[in-house]
């Protein structure tokens, strides 16, 4: 609690005790009024002051005014206890609201607790000095000890360590870094000592960008918030005039009809009306819900740039994916190795030679012999291919080397001859190896096996004999199929995949992931066009989200209703272009984000309906004289407390 809040708390306690005490003193008439004025002024002086100031400044209709008129009115009519109690409960409600909001604000900032407090700069003597991250210049060497946050983006100059990126990505899997690796601010260094050469200023570092984004997110207001702003503008004056009408019209009509006027009854009803009418519950709970939702999402590595996007996300009916890097890993991997019969034979013969030389050892491995043999044969094929392609920088060659996994000994490769558009010929351990596409095999006059799989095929011939092929493809992300299924569960009508890749590959991927529609062989401009077509087809209430890696699809990201960039950790461009940023590259986060937004919206609507419903009901009951001042207090403070408690639920994310 802040000082201000504590002061209010003391005033509430003192006023409550005084109220009870004054009730016990048996006096009547003016003395009673004067006695009750003591607790009233203790609890309400600031409200009265603000109400007067408001009137002076021409800002008549605010809640201070409502409260002041209601309570002063009650006091004049001799309803002393009620007058003081209304003020007392109003202050309790305000205090509760201030504390609850302050607490959830702190919770949310704690979720985003990535702001580094200092950076360790090494001076000429090798001593460490703690400085403000803002003061570190580009190219300085900073030291990050285990347990500390990386304050500024940079490159590891010395040391290696494991980093905890969970504050940024929501993922608990640690990341390994070594010398020369890029390092992103906001990560926590787990074990090793790291020296980092900074490549950015603090202002430009990932951590600053993210914090700025989250802090500014509540500036972009949702329709619900705008609705409430407008609503409050008309609502308060409307209620005030209604109350005035309620106080004057019925008694006047009574008089005209020749009945007793009953002024005091109707004035009290009008005052009750005023107390009920305060719009606080709505005005506070809705932005609080959105803020909580955004905070909860950022704790999962989902950055939402504004309440409006969180709102739109809940109404998403179409999700358009980019293929490469979004649903697939965007890196080539060996998916299948198929050895020819001839090559298997050769390997077998070689193996048998080994067996006779070392019979005892082979006997132990006997049971798994055939499988083991096949495994070895495939490894052998991969070894030849990887060595033959060892001098190439083509992604395919890289993936071969990666699949082989062992170090390539360049000295074993000689007589390399690249045949452009076909492949490569080289001698590995003195054996002539040819690796390349079908054309190469035709050129060499060899029979080769056709593959029905999707991807790039590398055929290998060893010593002039066809040895088999290796299938290389861009593999789907492990979570991609689940992600698409989860979107369907979350109520997405249609999933669409756009790709520049060939039709065959695209359709294969779409089918295995369960994507409804696929458009292939698209240029970047075509993607924008396709998205525009989809936008034109859907109804206005249905939202279309585009998911991409944010690097080369910025135009599409901005064209869609909601642009979602994935794997944005360290990519400023993606953070700039998208409306929602997934810090890691797990597509399942999209459905999670939708669930968060749904929950948040559900809570917002609950609060709107609940607050307006209870208030509306109490207003009617108040006007009819059924609801008294105490009910009015509940309708004001009680509803607000419940609405705030409900709003705080947004913070909690069920993963």
């Amino acid at each position: 609690m802040t000082k201000k809040q504590k002061k209010v708390l003391y005033r509430i306690i003192v006023a409550a005790i005084l109220l009870v005490a004054v009730n016990l003193i048996p006096v009547s008439g003016y003395w009673k009024a004067i006695l009750f004025l003591i607790p009233y002024l203790v609890i309400g002086y600031d409200i009265l002051r603000k109400a007067v100031l408001g009137i002076i400044h021409g800002e008549v209709f605010d809640e201070n005014f409502l409260m002041a008129v209601a309570t002063v009115g009650a006091m004049i009519l001799g309803e002393y206890s009620e007058g003081v109690a209304v003020m007392l409960f109003y202050q309790i409600g305000e205090l509760f609201q201030a504390v609850a909001v302050g607490k959830s604000r702190r919770n949310i900032t704690a979720l985003m607790d990535i702001r580094p407090d200092y950076a360790n700069v090494e001076d000429a003597d090798g001593d460490l000095e703690q400085v403000d991250p803002d003061d570190v210049e580009i190219g300085s060497i900073i030291v990050v000890r285990p347990g500390e946050k990386v304050p500024i983006d940079g490159v590891v100059a010395e040391g290696s360590s494991t980093l905890n990126t969970s504050a940024l990505t929501g993922e608990s899997v640690p990341r390994e870094v070594g010398c020369g690796d890029d390092i992103i601010s906001g990560c926590i260094n787990i074990n090793g000592l790291l020296k980092i050469r900074t490549t950015k200023e603090f202002e430009e570092s990932t951590v600053s960008k993210i914090l700025e984004l989250v802090e500014n997110s509540s500036m972009k207001k949702s329709c619900c918030e705008n609705f409430i702003t407008k609503f409050a503008r008309y609502y308060t004056p409307a209620v005030c005039y209604s109350a005035l009408a309620l106080a004057i019209l019925p008694p006047v009509i009574n008089l005209l009809l020749g009945n007793p006027a009953n002024w005091s009854t109707w004035v009290i009803r009008a005052l009750t009306f005023l107390v009920i009418s305060c719009p606080c519950a709505l005005v506070i709970s809705i932005p609080l819900s959105f803020f909580g939702g955004i905070g909860g999402a950022s704790a999962c590595g989902i950055l939402v740039k504004g309440s409006n996007y969180l709102e739109a996300l809940a109404q998403t009916k179409y999700v358009v994916f980019d293929k490469t890097g979004t649903l697939t890993k965007g890196v080539f991997q060996v998916v299948r190795i198929e050895a020819s019969e001839e090559f298997k034979e050769t390997c077998k013969v070689e193996k048998e030679k080994v067996t006779t030389e070392d019979a005892t050892e082979e006997a132990v491995a006997e049971p798994a012999n055939s499988e083991l043999l096949l495994e070895k044969t495939m490894q052998q094929l991969l070894r030849y291919a990887a060595h033959a392609e060892s001098f190439s920088n083509h992604p395919i060659s890289k993936s071969l080397r990666e699949a082989y996994g062992k170090d390539i000994d360049n000295t074993r490769v000689t007589d390399i001859e690249e045949i452009s558009g076909h492949g490569v010929k080289a001698k590995v351990d003195g054996v002539l190896v040819a690796a390349g596409n079908a054309k190469l095999m035709q050129k060499l006059g060899l029979n080769y096996a056709e593959d029905t799989g999707i991807g790039t095929v590398v055929h290998v011939a060893v010593d002039g004999v066809y040895a088999g092929y290796i299938l290389i493809a861009d593999v789907e992300k492990e979570t991609a199929a689940q992600a698409v299924a989860a979107l369907k569960v979350a109520g997405v009508k249609k999933t669409v995949m756009l790709t520049g890749d060939s039709k065959q590959v695209a359709e294969h991927v779409a089918e295995s992931l369960g994507v409804d529609e696929v458009h292939s062989e698209l240029l970047p401009a075509d993607k924008v066009e396709r998205v525009e077509q989809l936008l034109a087809q859907k109804s206005k209430k249905e939202m279309l989200a585009f998911v991409g890696d944010g690097i080369n699809d910025a135009p599409v990201l901005s064209r869609a209703d909601i642009g979602i960039a994935m794997g944005a950790l360290g990519s400023d461009a993606a953070i700039e272009a998208a409306d929602i940023v997934l810090m890691d590259d797990n597509p399942e986060k999209i459905a999670l984000a939708m669930r968060i937004s749904r929950k948040c919206l559900r809570i917002v609507y609950q609060n709107i309906v609940f607050a307006l419903g209870v208030k509306g009901l109490c207003l009617i009951l108040g006007a009819l004289g059924i609801a008294n001042m105490w009910v009015a207090i509940f309708a004001d403070v009680g509803v607000m407390v419940l609405a705030v408690l409900n709003a705080i639920r947004c913070l909690k994310v069920d993963k």
Binding site: K50, V101, C280, V283
Partner: protein, 72 residues
């Protein structure tokens, strides 16, 4: 030209009122007040004198909410 200022305001409705008041100040193109982050973002009109405008904004806000504070 946009600038963000730290503010202190106690209630959400007051923040709304501050936003309304700020928008009406001469030289302000647009303004948003976030009660949650206790921040005010002001977009100035071309060629407006920031300091003078902000003084006017502060005055306008004090008028609608006497307890508010803007840290210029």
């Amino acid at each position: 030209m946009k600038k963000t200022y730290k503010i202190e305001v106690d209630c959400a409705n007051c923040a709304l009122k501050m936003e309304e008041a700020t928008k009406k100040v001469e030289g302000v193109a647009d303004a948003t007040v976030s009660f949650m982050t206790q921040k005010m973002k002001v977009e100035f009109k071309e060629g407006a004198d920031e300091n003078a405008v902000m003084q006017a904004v502060l005055k306008a806000c004090k008028k609608v909410e006497s307890d508010c504070e803007i840290f210029l």
